[in-house]
């Protein structure tokens, strides 16, 4: 069994974000421990993106407290940004750059020096078995390779926590599963994973899952406990029960 450490990587208390009279994120509180895979679920418009933007230091909260990787999201957003990784299906790498150029670019942006970038690039190419792809343009890679590489780029600077925003959308079923196997390997190395997905089978792969409805966290527990609480046979049923409570159709 994976041992999740007691160190807290994300801590949020009564976090709220308002846009005018609209409360996008309404008083949410939770903690994520080091090495944990934390699933952040919710219907479209439930407030997931807004909450995630605050955690990534991209949006200042209206109220509440929050620290990510030990830094305050109000007063130290730049330090937060340096300590996290981010990947989404929509954007992850520069397609017109070669594999190694992407690594050099992202490593450089995150302040890694040339020597470390070189050593880590060699290590990564060997561990991914990517030696032949090293000099290829990213756009020429098969989708499965791109996925692996995108994830590796997002954790290249060894962030404390990586945010994955629907990382597997539109990907074939085998590649999707291989991707989750990579996530497991990363958490075994102590990286914390904060992930959103619309695939409910993937919710089962998380250590804990929160479900947002209308800006609030309606449920937060392990998939096993959630299924027991809601007398559901799978996470899709849990999600359907909770998300149907939503009154925010008119977002």
């Amino acid at each position: 069994m994976k041992v999740t450490s007691m160190e807290t990587v994300i801590k949020v208390e009564n976090l709220t974000k308002r846009f005018g009279s609209f409360t996008a994120v309404d008083n949410i509180s939770f903690e994520v421990k080091k090495g944990e895979i934390f699933g952040f679920l919710g219907a479209n418009g439930a407030g997931k993106t807004t909450a995630m933007r605050m955690l990534c230091g991209l949006s200042i909260p209206s109220e509440g407290k929050g620290t990510v990787a030990g830094y305050d999201i109000y007063t130290q957003p730049e330090l937060v940004k340096r300590s996290i990784g981010y990947m989404s299906q929509k954007f992850s790498m520069y397609e017109d750059l070669k594999v190694w150029e992407n690594l050099e670019l992202f490593g450089g942006i995150y302040g890694m020096n040339d020597e470390i970038i070189k050593i880590k690039t060699d290590e990564l190419m060997a561990s991914l078995n990517f030696e032949e792809e090293r000099d290829k343009l990213v756009k020429s890679l098969p989708l499965g390779f791109k996925q692996k590489l995108a994830f590796s780029v997002s954790i290249f600077h060894t962030p404390k926590v990586v945010f994955l925003d629907e990382p597997t959308g539109g990907v074939d079923p085998i590649t999707r599963r291989r991707f989750w196997e990579m996530i497991y390997d990363a958490t075994a190395r102590g990286i914390t994973v904060f992930v959103t997905t619309h695939y409910m089978d993937e919710a089962e792969y998380c250590d804990r899952v929160s479900i947002m409805v209308d800006g609030r966290i309606e449920a937060l527990d392990s998939p096993k406990n959630l299924k027991a609480t809601y007398k559901a046979k799978n996470m899709d049923e849990v999600f359907q029960q909770l998300a149907r409570k939503s009154k925010r159709k008119a977002d």
Binding site: M1, K2, G42, A43, N44, G45, A46, E95, L137, K139, S140, P142, L143, G144, F145, E166, G169, G170, V171, D172, P173, I174, T175, R177, R178, W180, E181, Y184, H198, Y199, M200, D201, E204, Y205, P223, K224, N234, M235, D236, F239, Q240, A243, R244, S246, K249, A250, D251
Partner: protein, 310 residues
């Protein structure tokens, strides 16, 4: 209503830097009768959109023929455009026009009015009508989807082409959307719909599983499931991560992949039984081992048929 014979289209994709398209190996064929919901199911880059663009007369195929409503996609393209509705994968309405203006625009283009065909879109449009003065660009994902469907229906098409209407949409809204499609089917509309979500397969009358520009299989979801060749078991133990590794190390196991809270194991050998595999795992230190035979899902079938084993 839709007849596709040996269609192929290959082009150099600037985006992916390689050849993409559909039917590179002899073309693809399919036939969809009136009133059927036919699903094209497969991942990004499989060729779904290329097929939709050929059938909606937006691009020409390299080879093969296709008809929609009996009209040829090349010779009678104007007639096809009058009688089909098309909802592209990317939101393609006018972001700067309001909900109402978009709908009115599409009605006018097709020489009709919202009032004339309101009955058809009523159930869908009524949900976004309270926001009819809002610009389309300011709508949420779910509302954009409903507006796009309303616009695709406003000229009362007989065939509807929906290219990934539920991609990026949450499970609750996806269920609602399929409910709407069912109602449209009851009114006799033929629907060709594509999706990367394998769990939507069972909502179609028939499906084509597609990968790398080829159909892996065309049949009803039930028949595809019945044709699954291997034994399929769901396995659980107290250590799910190690379970996956240990199952793959067993030479009689053909494949092992995580499936929600269990691992799905395919076995083609007669030598391996549930009891033998349970003993094998227990011997490797697994506790609470549970293995039982299960019915395959469409996703299991896709993975079995797929040649993508990277």
């Amino acid at each position: 209503m839709i007849e596709v014979k040996n269609i192929s289209k290959n082009y150099f994709s600037e985006k992916s830097g390689k050849f993409a398209g559909i039917g590179s190996d002899g073309g693809v064929s399919l036939s969809v009768p009136k009133g059927e919901i036919f699903g094209i199911i497969g991942p990004d880059g499989a060729g779904k959109t290329t097929l939709f663009r050929i059938l909606t007369t937006l691009i020409l195929a390299d080879s093969g023929t296709a008809t929609v409503n009996g009209f040829d996609v090349v010779k009678d393209y104007k007639k096809i455009r009058e009688c089909v509705g098309y909802m592209p994968g990317r939101f393609s309405l006018y972001q700067d026009l309001t909900v109402e203006e978009n709908l009115e625009f599409f009605a006018t283009v097709f020489n009709t009015t919202i009032e004339e065909n309101y009955e058809l879109i009523k159930d869908i449009y009524i949900q976004i009508e309270p926001f009819k003065k809002r610009r389309a660009g300011k709508l949420s994902g779910g509302m954009k989807q409903k507006l796009a469907l309303s616009c695709a229906l406003i000229h009362k098409p007989t065939v509807l082409f929906l290219d990934e209407p539920t991609t990026g949409v949450d499970p609750v809204s996806r269920k609602e959307f399929w409910g709407m499609l069912k109602k449209l089917k009851q009114q006799g509309i033929t629907i060709l719909v594509s999706t990367p979500y394998m769990d939507e397969a069972s909502l179609c009358d028939r499906i084509a599983l597609i990968q790398n520009g080829q159909f892996l299989k065309i049949d009803t979801p039930d028949n595809i499931v019945n044709q699954f060749e291997d034994k399929l078991w769901a396995a659980k133990s107290n250590n799910m991560h190690k379970l996956l590794d240990d199952l793959r190390k067993n030479k009689l196991v053909k494949s092992a992949f995580a499936f929600g809270d269990s691992v799905h194991v395919t076995v083609s050998s007669e030598q391996l039984s549930v009891i033998i595999l349970t003993d094998y795992l227990t011997g490797l230190g697994h506790k609470n081992v549970e293995i039982h035979t299960i019915e395959p899902t469409i996703e299991d079938c896709f993975m079995g048929l797929s040649n993508n084993q990277i």
